[in-house]
């Protein structure tokens, strides 16, 4: 008796499922079978990331700069070359427009890549030192996370738009940030200040280059 009931309900369920399934037409994700995100959308997503990363690094710098506001001597001492300056990144609009897009994309990739380790180090260096260390640490962690996504996105663009140039990342030996082990407080502060300054600059560069590339590749210089 119960078995009959069970089988009955089971059959009913199966039948209803079949009926429902018949009425459901699966939507094709990729029209024409070519599952690829359009380039414009890729760029938009990437630029959103880069913009966000820049905003984080800018906030980080402002937090730090509050402590040394108008301390010209300190600032004068702190400013030193960023390690990433060895990368031959274009220094102006005209330069950037002369660089081929795939080369520029690869440069961007290298730039973003180069910040993975320093960011990781920054978290340990800042911890407990400054009053604004919590804000700096959280942002540093966030930037680290977003950088990974940014790298994925740029690699996708490369693979879609310039597949032949993929893998041509420049792995130049660049100078690294000085280690802060066993360094006095002032030197440590100066080093941190410089690092964050360089981070802000490099994220701005990435953002700017990507926006240039978007207008160049997607909108044909007619943004």
């Amino acid at each position: 008796m119960i078995n009959v009931q069970k089988t009955g309900t089971l059959l009913l369920l199966v039948m209803s499922n079949l009926m429902f399934c018949r009425s459901v037409h699966p939507l094709p994700i990729c029209p024409g079978g070519n599952c690829q995100m359009p380039l414009q959308e890729l760029f938009d997503r990437v630029i959103m990331l880069s913009h966000y990363i820049y905003m984080l690094s800018a906030d980080m710098f402002i937090e730090l700069d509050k402590q040394y506001a108008q301390d010209h001597e300190f600032i004068a001492k702190a400013i030193s070359d960023c390690p990433t300056s060895s990368l031959a990144t274009p220094e102006g609009k005209e330069e950037a427009q002369q660089v081929p897009p795939e080369v520029l994309l690869n440069l961007i990739l290298s730039l973003v890549h180069s910040w993975n380790d320093p960011l990781f180090q920054l978290v340990t260096e800042v911890d407990g030192i400054h009053e604004a260390s919590d804000a700096i640490i959280s942002r540093a962690k966030e930037i680290g996370e977003q950088n990974k996504r940014l790298l994925e996105g740029i690699e996708k663009i490369l693979g879609q738009a310039y597949p032949e140039a993929k893998g041509n990342e420049v792995y130049s030996v660049w100078s690294q940030f000085p280690s802060l082990q066993g360094v006095d407080e002032e030197s440590r502060d100066l080093a941190i200040y410089n690092k964050i300054r360089c981070l802000r600059r490099d994220s701005h560069k990435v953002d700017n280059y990507l926006k240039l590339l978007r207008c160049r590749i997607v909108h044909n210089n007619n943004c």
Partner: protein, 610 residues
């Protein structure tokens, strides 16, 4: 040594006392880049120390040790330094210092560390346009459009601009701000129609400072067309409803007159004295009695009736019924009133009025020859009635002379008794019969009367002509008398009130004989010795019988008989078409004015019965 110091102090004091001193420390207060490709720095000069002071700006870049001077002091105004494209490096820190130098000394400002990337402040947007547009569903919105400032390079993507607009109505105090992102247009919905709005825009680089607010533009939102249209339609509907109400009210009040104006009722035959009410009720006996039918079918006594009955036509309802007043009580045989406008619709109206009129009606009653339209039911009895209609009069009046029997002198060759009586008989027959035949008969009778009237008219003229001749010669009217006497009506002597109508004089005055002489004069030509004329009405009895009294003022001048002789030949010539017009004239001639009462000579219409 101490003297040297003293000299130095003295020198300083002297210089101070002179008011001259080295310049104060200048200060760079702002550096801005409008397009991320050039930038300008402004400084505030310090005190000049009373001496002309030179300012110079020096800078060095990050990583470089060389110091450069400002390439352009002019472009951006006084106390400024403009760095053109070739001197601008982005992503590099500039260390800028301003030096003030005068004769006394110089001073330098604090160095400023400037990265062009972060000092971008663009110009405000330009070409701000405002337009009011409509969606498909008639919804209105404000379409705001603008362009980025000229020098920024947005097209290549080097410069990414974000915009903001703000708007407020004329009456509002605060601005309403909207961030528009990177688009250079914006739609604003839900604006108040009829109000003026002010709009401003500003822009900002993706990473930089907001520009100042641009040129203010204003636009007036037009009134919502649909709303206005609806209001107009509501007003139109209300006005038309009011007008309709007024028209309905006017029609209700004066509808009858308007209807008669537009659709004049067709005149129908009228029989005076014919009561359609009785007909409707189906009381044929009463109807017949009203018509003047003693019995049905008529008997041979009818001939006498014709002779004996005096037709008196006062304005409404009086008749003289000598012997048959008892038999035909309340019969009001009216001489017809000829209506000049006989073909108008008065006929129907008058029938109603007659049927329902009072027994005592003044002369205001419109004189008309009416054959009452028996078919017609009282239509709009209230309209076109004589002003003094008295509804209590129950005596129906038979207008047509067909039923009149009169004491008028009979014209030679006429059988007065027959034709009227024929008419009466026919009328009596028809009264019980179908209504339409009666109507046709009445029409026919009317036509006959019309014919008769025309002859009468001619006769009257002749009478008038002859009267002059005969008047002088015949004071006693001998020639006329025999004729008259021939046709002297027989008057019954039974009722004391009845008199014999002697003649009708020129003026239409009734000449009456006293009743005692009637028998003597019946069909005898003779000269009446007395020519008393009963022309004065003493009163009206209850039976609507006119009581006449002698009046010596009236003279006998009528030579009616002579003219009557000539009637027959001309009678044949009458045509029905002319009758109507002539009849009217004849009837007026037939009418005798006696006192306040109108008497219509029935002999006028006697010819028609042959």
């Amino acid at each position: 040594m101490p003297s040297a110091l003293a000299f130095i102090f003295l020198f300083l004091n002297i210089s101070l006392l002179n008011g001259q001193s080295p310049p104060g420390k200048p200060e760079i207060h702002k550096c801005r880049s409008p397009d991320k490709e050039t930038f300008t720095c402004w400084w505030n000069p310090g005190t000049d120390g009373g001496l002309p002071t030179n300012y110079s700006l020096t800078y060095s870049k990050e990583g470089e040790k060389t110091t450069h001077e400002c390439p352009d002091y002019k472009t951006s105004g006084p106390n400024s330094c403009f760095f053109s494209k070739q001197y601008t490096s982005i992503w590099k820190i500039y260390i800028i210092t301003v030096n003030a130098t005068n004769q006394m000394g110089s001073s330098a400002s604090d160095p400023l560390y400037v990265d062009v990337t972060y000092i971008v402040e663009p110009e405000p947007p330009r070409n701000l346009t405002l337009e009011v547009k409509q969606l498909k569903d008639k919804k209105m919105y404000l379409w705001i459009k603008w362009s980025p400032p000229t020098i920024t390079d947005v097209k290549t993507g080097w410069f990414t601009m974000e915009y903001e607009i703000r708007l407020k109505s004329e009456e509002a105090d605060e601005w309403e701000t909207h961030f528009t992102g990177q688009q250079t247009h914006f739609k604003v919905f839900d604006l108040y129609p009829g109000q003026k709005y002010f709009v401003q825009t500003r822009c900002k680089p993706d990473h930089g400072y907001w520009s100042r607010w641009g040129q203010e533009n204003s636009i007036e939102i037009p009134n919502d067309f649909t709303l206005k249209n609806t209001t107009v339609w509501i007003i139109v509907a209300i006005l038309s409803a009011v007008i309709c109400l007024i028209m309905v009210w006017a029609v209700a009040l004066k509808g009858y007159s308007m209807m008669t104006c537009i659709f004049p009722p067709v005149p129908g035959p009228k029989i005076k004295g014919f009561d359609t009410h009785l007909l409707e009720k189906g009381k044929s006996e009463e109807l017949l009695t009203a018509l003047g039918c003693q019995d049905f079918p008529p008997t041979s006594d009818s001939e006498d009736l014709l002779v004996e009955f005096l037709e008196v036509d006062d304005s409404e309802d009086v008749q003289l019924m000598p012997s048959h007043s008892k038999e035909y009580p309340g019969q009001g045989v009216k001489p017809t009133h000829l209506d000049p406008d006989n073909d108008s619709g008065h006929g129907s109206y008058d029938s109603h009025s007659l049927l329902s009129e009072k027994c005592e009606e003044p002369q205001v009653y419109p004189p008309a020859f009416h054959i009452p339209d028996i078919i017609e039911k009282p239509e709009n009895p209230e309209a076109n009635l004589p002003p003094t209609q008295d509804a209590q009069c129950s005596i129906p009046y038979f207008h047509a002379d067909v039923s009149k029997s009169s004491t008028w002198p009979l014209l030679p060759g006429q059988h007065m008794t027959r034709s009227p009586y024929h008419s009466i008989a026919d009328v009596c027959k028809l009264a019980g019969g179908p209504v339409d035949t009666l109507t046709s008969f009445l029409d026919k009778a009317g036509k006959n009367v019309l014919k008769y009237s025309k002859t009468l008219e001619t006769e009257e003229e002749k009478v008038a002509g002859q009267e002059k001749k005969s008047f002088h010669s015949e004071t006693k009217q001998n020639t006329s008398q025999p004729l008259l006497q021939e046709n002297a009506p027989i008057v019954y002597a039974k009722p004391p009130d009845y008199v014999e109508i002697h003649k009708v004089n020129k003026n239409g005055v009734l000449s009456l004989f006293p009743k005692q002489k009637e028998n003597d004069q019946a069909e005898k030509p003779g000269v009446p010795e007395t020519s008393k004329e009963y022309a004065k009405v003493s009163g009206v009895t209850d039976d609507d019988i006119l009581v006449l009294v002698p009046d010596s003022q009236v003279q006998n001048t009528a030579l009616f008989g002579e003219s009557a002789k000539k009637a027959p030949p001309s009678l044949e010539q009458n045509q029905s078409e002319k009758d109507l017009a002539s009849f009217a004239a004849a009837s007026s001639n037939c009418r005798l004015q006696l006192g306040r009462l109108d008497y219509l000579d029935p002999t006028c219409f006697m010819h028609s019965f042959h």
